[in-house]
């Protein structure tokens, strides 16, 4: 109410803005309102709205070793992709932001190209390339493939936090006797750690919900959760998928709220210290 009063009287412009915003938000969030009730349905059909309620599809998810294996696989791949992406993105971001070598712009464009190239093209290309090295269906292949997709995000996020930092601080550290590597570890890294954390988070999520590439390069030994869901929709349509979706929605909410809580805590501490 307070915010509405601050905006003053409702003009036609306001009405249009609010209507469009409401439609967009509704479009984004409505699928969740369909899938969550279905997951609590008793029927074996994808029925909306459900006529009777039960937890049987959650039981079906948690007691199925195939589903749980796929979940664990997704977490393992996500964690590996996260680690690899951050390890690669850090030096890449430093090169892009601090370097002054020839061809820097070209390298930057190549690094960021997976953001522009359609995933399906990268997936097909990787499928052929991996078949030369027998990487299709392997864990390493899947991690490499997902890292290709995650690396641009991680690089952009870390580069942005490096841009915000005063590069003179590294120079000061060196002038005070720190070897450049030590200056990075003791000064630069602590100052960009929130950027690194966000990059890691994005890298994990990129892998965790990736299905297009997974369709091409996963095998029976590397079945991830999104791939398993994809197969589920195609072959054995039952509400277990809805239960899995509900769990995933819950999981992402927890992650987002956790991230927000950490950010706020940092902000509050900073604000408090600045005010003193």
């Amino acid at each position: 109410m307070a915010a509405r009063r601050e905006l003053g009287r409702w003009t036609p412009g306001h009405l249009v803005t609010v209507t469009v915003a409401a439609l967009v938000l509704g479009f984004l969030i409505l699928p969740i309102f369909v899938v969550v009730p279905i997951s609590f349905s008793q029927s074996a059909l994808l029925q909306f709205p459900p006529k009777a309620w039960s937890l049987r599809w959650f039981d079906s998810y948690f007691s199925s070793s195939a589903w749980i294996d796929a979940t664990i696989m997704s977490f393992k791949v996500g964690a590996s992709v996260m680690l690899l992406s951050v390890l690669l993105a850090l030096p890449a971001a430093i090169g892009i932001t601090r370097g002054s070598f020839r061809g820097r712009a070209v390298i930057q464009a190549i690094l960021l190209s997976p953001l522009i190239v359609p995933v399906i093209i990268i997936a097909v290309a990787l499928y052929y390339a991996f078949s030369l090295f027998r990487l299709n269906g392997t864990y390493a292949g899947l991690v490499l493939g997902h890292t290709v997709l995650a690396l641009p995000y991680a690089t952009v996020v870390i580069a942005a936090s490096l841009e915000r930092m005063d590069p003179r601080l590294e120079q000061v550290a060196v002038s005070l006797g720190a070897h450049p590597f030590r200056a990075f570890y003791r000064v630069t890294l602590p100052l960009i750690r929130s950027g690194v954390a966000v990059a890691a988070f994005f890298a994990f999520l990129t892998s965790f919900d990736e299905v297009v590439m997974a369709i091409f390069i996963t095998g029976p030994q590397t079945l991830t959760l999104p791939k398993k869901m994809w197969d589920g929709i195609r072959f054995e349509l039952d509400p277990t998928i809805a239960a899995v979706s509900t769990v995933l929605v819950l999981f992402s909410w927890v992650l987002v709220l956790l991230g927000e809580a950490i950010r706020r805590r940092v902000d509050v501490v900073t604000a408090y210290k600045a005010a003193r």
């Binding site: 005063d166 002038s175 006797g177 200056a183 210290k273 600045a274």
Partner: protein
């Protein structure tokens, strides 16, 4: 070179023929400078004069294209910056925002593997020196600008570096705090006795702090000298103007030597002093500082006539902008406020005490003509200190 000391042992920092090019342009073009141990030397110049580049070459963050840099008589060109043992203070303080005051100051000691207890002791000691006892646990953002600058200073000297470099360290402070910090820096430098190179574009600051001032322009040294040298006895037109003496009265030398008699425009003759022998009939400029130029009464001998264009009260003094009969700009600063105010448009007679009349050659070019006058540049520098 006049600036080079004969015994290299008594030199803390020495630059010989140092050049730095960026593409085709010289940022620094042939710098020769010798700084004695414990000396406070300012590099004074406007932006683009090469003063910061020179500092960064001593620190090791910029590699010279030509020339030699010695610190404590060691050629440092191949010494990596973190091994040079040089303290640096920047304008933005450069404090590590994630570390407390004590951790900031202890950083250089930690990097040198000093024991924790010893670090604590030395940090406490240097905090006393900069009057910040009890601030050890604070974060930089909890301090005022002046306090942050003192922490930066403490951090730059705590490890006993051979040289302290300061790049416009007071640039971010307001005027009153600047003056206060100047006094603190000066007394601290005297107490610690550390050789200091100080970059600034502020003439007053350079003169207040320094044993010697190096006036730089377009990558070259225009003059090296004690503050009173560059202020009262500028080597050339650039230094005179830059040091706030725009009064360049054209004339012709009647007699030769270091104490020539000069006939100035309007016909009056005046005794003056020069830093180099002047030839008879040489075209010269007589430099008279604004506060030495006097508006004389009608019954006194006058040297130049001028018309007042503008008079301003500048706090403790009155400043007249005037134009000489020959069209030269003249500035008079009158500290005796009991004298009547001359209205704009009035013609006045100006005079000065011959002791304060300084002669430079008229062909000693304005900074814009610099690149074509490299021959003259060499002779000016010898005239310096």
């Amino acid at each position: 070179m006049a600036a080079r000391e004969p015994q290299s042992r008594s030199v803390a920092v020495a630059l010989h023929g140092v050049c730095k090019r960026y593409g085709d342009t010289y940022a620094v073009k042939g710098i020769d400078l010798a700084v004695s141990p414990g000396e406070f030397v300012s590099l004074l110049g406007s932006s683009g004069s090469g003063k910061t580049t020179t500092l960064m070459m001593i620190a090791g963050f910029v590699q010279p294209d030509e020339g030699e840099i010695r610190v404590d008589d060691i050629d440092v060109r191949n010494v990596r910056p973190h091994r040079r043992d040089i303290g640096i203070v920047y304008q933005n303080y450069g404090l590590f925002p994630h570390l407390s005051v004590a951790r900031n100051i202890g950083f250089p000691l930690e990097m040198r593997g000093v024991a924790k207890s010893e670090i604590r002791r030395r940090v406490a000691e240097v905090l006393r020196v900069v009057h910040l006892e009890g601030f050890d646990a604070r974060l930089p953002q909890e301090l005022s600008g002046g306090q942050q600058q003192r922490v930066a200073l403490a951090r730059a000297i705590v490890f006993g570096p051979s040289v302290l470099l300061m790049d416009e360290p007071l640039g971010a402070l307001d005027a009153n705090l600047r003056v206060q910090m100047q006094a603190e820096i000066k007394s601290l430098q005297r107490k610690v006795g550390i050789t200091t190179l100080y970059v600034t574009h502020d003439q007053t600051e350079a003169m207040t702090l320094s044993d010697r001032v190096v006036v730089m322009n377009a990558g070259r040294i225009e003059q090296i000298g004690r503050p009173e040298d560059v202020y009262e006895r500028p080597a050339n037109r650039f230094v005179a103007t830059f040091m706030g003496a725009p009064n360049l009265i054209p004339g012709t030398a009647i007699t030769a030597g270091n104490q020539p008699i000069v006939r100035v425009e309007g016909g009056a003759t005046v005794a003056a002093t020069s830093g180099r022998p002047i030839a008879a009939n040489e075209k010269v400029h007589v430099v008279v500082r604004p506060e030495r130029l006097r508006i004389v009464r009608d019954d006194e001998p006058a040297l130049v006539a001028a018309r007042v264009r503008e008079s301003m009260y500048v706090g403790g003094a009155r400043r007249y902008e005037a134009t000489s009969i020959a069209g030269e700009r003249l500035v008079v600063v009158q500290t005796d406020l009991n004298l009547p105010v001359v209205p704009n448009g009035d013609e006045v007679k100006l005079g000065w005490d011959p002791a304060f009349a300084w002669v430079i050659g008229a062909d000693e070019t304005a900074p814009a003509d610099r690149s074509t006058a490299s021959g003259a540049a060499t002779s000016w520098r010898s005239a310096g200190s």
